[in-house]
Amino acid sequence: MFLLALTNGLVIGIIYALAALGVSLVVGIMNVVNFAHGEFYILAGYFSYHFANTLGMNYLAAMMLSVGLVLIFGMIIEVLLIRKTYGDDLYSLILTFILSIVLQNTYLLVFGPYPNKPPNWVKGATNVFGQFYYGNQRLAACGAGLVVIAIVYLMLKKTWFGRMLRATSQDREVAELNGVNTTALNMLSFGLGCALAAAAGVILSPIFPVTPTGGMAVALTAFVVVVLGGMGSFWGCVVGGLIIGLVENFGAAFISSGYRHVFGFIILIFVLLVRPAGLFGNREI
């Protein structure tokens, strides 16, 4: 029971961190909370389902193509909606909230109400610790999640683009003075945030089939993780994801499974009362 909860907690924690990474990135650079984050996740899930199942594409190719399409879609949304809201975080929150409802209802119309599940990458289960069997697809998703998180980390720390992003997130004006084109950068980073949602979507949809309204739960978890870890902090996002994953799964295993998500919220509220900027946050709020 303990080991199962621990394994579940770690695997789900990585998955949560992955789902939250895009939100964290966009908050850090643009100070915009993308309420529709979950809907980009769901869209990628639908894309990969239809590319793989309906069109018969190779699942890896289907995943890549889905993420690419959502990246472009995200950039279009930035130009149409988000660009006007810079400097007013509540305005962007309200706009993306409405956007999320619009997208949910569009998905319902286009994709229908039933859950869609892209193909599994791997079959079977592995015996963990000699105690219990754990689905291989879950382990593979966890591995893929770690790979994406590592890629994002390397991109932020090692590349020229990452340095530009970090400079902008620290001081927008100074970055602008140093020749960073923040308009293009905003578009790109919002798109990137959406692409990360999409990456989470294609990795997780074989485990959690996508539904038109499923994005809200994803976004909620992502928000909890990001606020807990501290808005815009990379490590905060990873640690926050692991904490929420562990707390929820231990809570579900030992207290009550129905209240799984409530434990995460309670931890969040407790942390916010002590550290209003989150665990790794230093932003003045």
Binding site: V27, V33, L80, L81, K84, D89, L90, Y91, L93, I94, L95, F97, I98, L99, I101, V102, N105, T106, L109, M216, L220, F223, V224, V227, M231, S256, G258, Y259, H261, V262, F265, L268, I269, L272, L273, P276, I285
Partner: protein, 307 residues
């Protein structure tokens, strides 16, 4: 100026008073729903539009009002006439608590915390199935001995008028002035003697109590209290109505509620597209005319008077 406003308000209320005579049962139902949304939007606007605290838990507070009264009626046999005030009180107490919880937070943090509160409430309703009946809904007694749409219309009308009077009084008193000062610049307001903590918590408490009132009366009108009342979809409708009508103005949410509810009934004839249509309207309004219909009209007036 003030007198014309009062006379105008009296005429409108008077028209509403005789309205049921000219409406069929279905139209009366639509009017009752409209009045529910008027109360919800106007009280959300008091919080979001006047103090800048964009709460996503407003529908949840309507749910608290409805479920408190409903559960008391079903489990303890308490009359809804007593249960609804208790529901209002309970919503106010929880609102006070959430307001305190959110004190140190501004902007996005507050919004996301209220989102969490709303979600917790939802999970509780779904888990405590034996008390709340979960998604099946809780069957509750009505407010009237003999069910009558006209009767409910008048109950809803009186409740809505009382709510609107409370809100009107608040925003036009010193409290409203302080609300707007806090929304504009919290630190400056504090430096000028505004008790920011009191003002923010007060806004949360009153707005939650009014949502609880709306939810309670609505629940006992529907005779069935479901998780639909405190859902995020409901929250979305309230937010859209306020934004389309005009956030931060007294009349805006009222206009928004009537327009969108009547529109949605009209669209409903063509299938379940009303939420999508709403969303698209709200999205374009929020993007291109953030001050809503009221803002557009005001801008039109200003243009006219200068040219």
């Amino acid at each position: 100026m003030k007198n014309t406003k009062v006379i105008l308000a009296c005429i409108i209320v008077g028209l509403f008073g005789i309205l049921p005579l000219g409406l069929n049962v279905y139209q009366q139902h639509v009017m009752i729903v409209c009045l529910f949304y008027v109360m919800m939007s106007a009280s959300w606007n008091l919080l979001a539009g006047y103090t800048g605290q964009v709460s996503f838990a407003h529908a949840a507070f309507a749910g608290i009002g409805a479920y408190t009264s409903g559960i008391l009626a079903v489990k303890a046999g308490l009359s809804p006439w007593l249960g609804i005030p208790l529901g209002v009180l309970f919503a106010a107490v929880i609102g006070f608590g959430v307001g305190l919880l959110c004190l140190k937070m501004g902007g996005i943090y507050l919004s996301l915390t209220t989102l969490g509160v709303s979600e917790i409430f939802h999970i509780i309703i779904n888990n405590e199935y034996e008390i709340t009946r979960g998604t099946m809904g809780l069957q509750v007694p009505g407010l009237l001995v003999e069910y009558s749409k006209t009767g409910y219309f008048y109950i809803m009308l009186v409740t809505a008028i009382v709510s609107l009077l409370v809100i009107y009084w608040m925003i036009h008193s010193n409290i409203g002035l302080n609300f707007r000062a806090v929304q504009n610049d919290e630190k400056a307001a504090a430096s000028l003697g505004v008790d920011v903590i009191r003002i923010r918590v007060l806004a949360f408490t009153v707005s939650s109590a009014l949502a609880g009132l709306a939810g309670g009366v609505y629940g006992h009108y529907l005779l069935l209290i479901t998780p639909e009342i405190p859902s995020l979809d409901q929250q979305f409708l309230v937010l859209s109505m306020t934004i389309i009508g005009g956030m931060g103005s007294f009349i805006g949410p009222i206009i928004g509620a009537f327009t969108l509810e009547i529109l949605s009934e009209y669209i409903r004839g063509y299938g379940e597209y009303h939420v999508l249509v709403f969303g698209l309207i709200a999205l374009s309004m929020a993007r291109f005319a953030p001050n809503g219909v009221v803002g557009l009209v005001q801008a039109g007036w200003a243009k006219r008077s200068t040219s």
